[in-house]
C-alpha cells in the first residue's frame, strides 16, 4: 500500500521536469540572411547578362562566319557580319540546325536544344559559344 502512494507522488514531479525541457528553439538569424541573399541576386544577374551580350571575341565571330559561309555555299565576298540573320542569308531551318552542329564540332562544345532554338543571328551563336567554352 505504501509503495503505491510513493509511486503516485513521484509521477507529477517527473512530468514537470519534461515540461521545463521542452522549450522551442527559435533561430531568428536564419530568415534574415535569406532575405539579404535574395536582395543581392537580381543585381548580380543583371550585371552578368549585360557583360556576356557584348563580349564575343572577334576571332570567334570570324570562325562562325567562316562556317556559315561554307555551309550555305556563299561566295567569298558576301557580307556576313555579326548582325546578319541566318534566314536573310538564305538558310532554312534545317540549315540552321546544321550550322549549329558544325559549330558544335568545330569548337568541341555541345549545345542544348532550347538554346539552339534561340539562335537567330551570327552574334547569338558566337555569344553562346563563348559561354559554353568558358564553362568547360
Amino acid at each position: 500500500m505504501t509503495s503505491i502512494v510513493g509511486a503516485t507522488i513521484s509521477v507529477p514531479s517527473s512530468r514537470s521536469l519534461c515540461f521545463n525541457q521542452a522549450t522551442p528553439r527559435i533561430s531568428g538569424l536564419k530568415p534574415v540572411s535569406v532575405s539579404i541573399q535574395k536582395k543581392s541576386f537580381p543585381s548580380l544577374k543583371f550585371r552578368r547578362s549585360f557583360r556576356v551580350s557584348c563580349s564575343a571575341k572577334p576571332e570567334t565571330v570570324d570562325k562562325v562566319c567562316e562556317i556559315v559561309r561554307k555551309q550555305l555555299a556563299l561566295p567569298a565576298d558576301s557580307a556576313v557580319t555579326g548582325e546578319s540573320k541566318f534566314v536573310s542569308l538564305g538558310a532554312d531551318s534545317l540549315d540552321t540546325v546544321e550550322i549549329v552542329m558544325g559549330l558544335e564540332e568545330a569548337f568541341g562544345i555541345s549545345v542544348e536544344e532550347e538554346s539552339a532554338q534561340t539562335i537567330a543571328t551570327v552574334q547569338d551563336a558566337a555569344d553562346l559559344i563563348e559561354k559554353l567554352v568558358e564553362k568547360k
Partner: protein
C-alpha cells in the same frame, strides 16, 4: 551476339507539322552526334570528313522536305532511326557506308575510261550517257 537497340517502343504519332519538324531536328542532331564514332568504327578518315557525312545526311533529309503529312514524316523518321541504329552498332560494312553516304551522284563505278578513250565526246553525249534528264 547482342544487338543493342536504341529504342524498341515507337512513340505516338505527332499531332502537328511543327512537332514533326522538331522530331526531324532531334533525329538530325542525334545522327550528327554519332558521326565521330561512325568514322572510328568504319575507318573512314581517309575517305570522308565529318562535315561531308553531315551534308549527305542533310541532303537525304531535304529530299523529303516537301512532305506535309505528319504521319508520313514519322514513318520516314522511324526508317531513318533504324538505319542509324544499324550503322552505329556495326551491323553494316564499310562498303555500304561508302557507297550510300560518301559517294555522290557518280555512284560506285566511276568510268574514267570515258575521258581517256573518247576525249572528243561532247558535253551533250556525256550527259546523255549518265541520265535521261538533263
Amino acid at each position: 551476339m547482342a544487338f543493342t537497340l536504341r529504342s524498341v517502343k515507337v512513340p505516338p504519332n505527332s499531332v502537328t507539322l511543327e512537332e514533326a519538324r522538331s522530331r526531324t531536328f532531334d533525329f538530325f542532331r542525334k545522327a550528327c552526334r554519332s558521326l565521330p564514332s561512325v568514322m572510328e568504327i568504319y575507318n573512314l578518315h581517309d575517305v570522308a570528313t565529318i562535315s561531308h557525312l553531315r551534308s549527305s545526311i542533310s541532303s537525304q533529309i531535304r529530299k523529303n522536305a516537301h512532305i506535309t503529312n505528319p504521319k508520313v514524316i514519322d514513318m520516314l523518321l522511324f526508317k531513318g532511326l533504324e538505319e542509324l541504329n544499324n550503322i552505329a552498332e556495326h551491323a553494316k560494312q564499310r562498303h555500304h557506308i561508302i557507297g550510300q553516304y560518301v559517294l555522290g551522284s557518280e555512284g560506285l563505278v566511276q568510268d574514267h575510261d570515258q575521258d581517256r578513250k573518247d576525249p572528243g565526246a561532247s558535253k551533250f553525249l556525256k550527259n546523255f550517257y549518265t541520265s535521261n534528264y538533263f
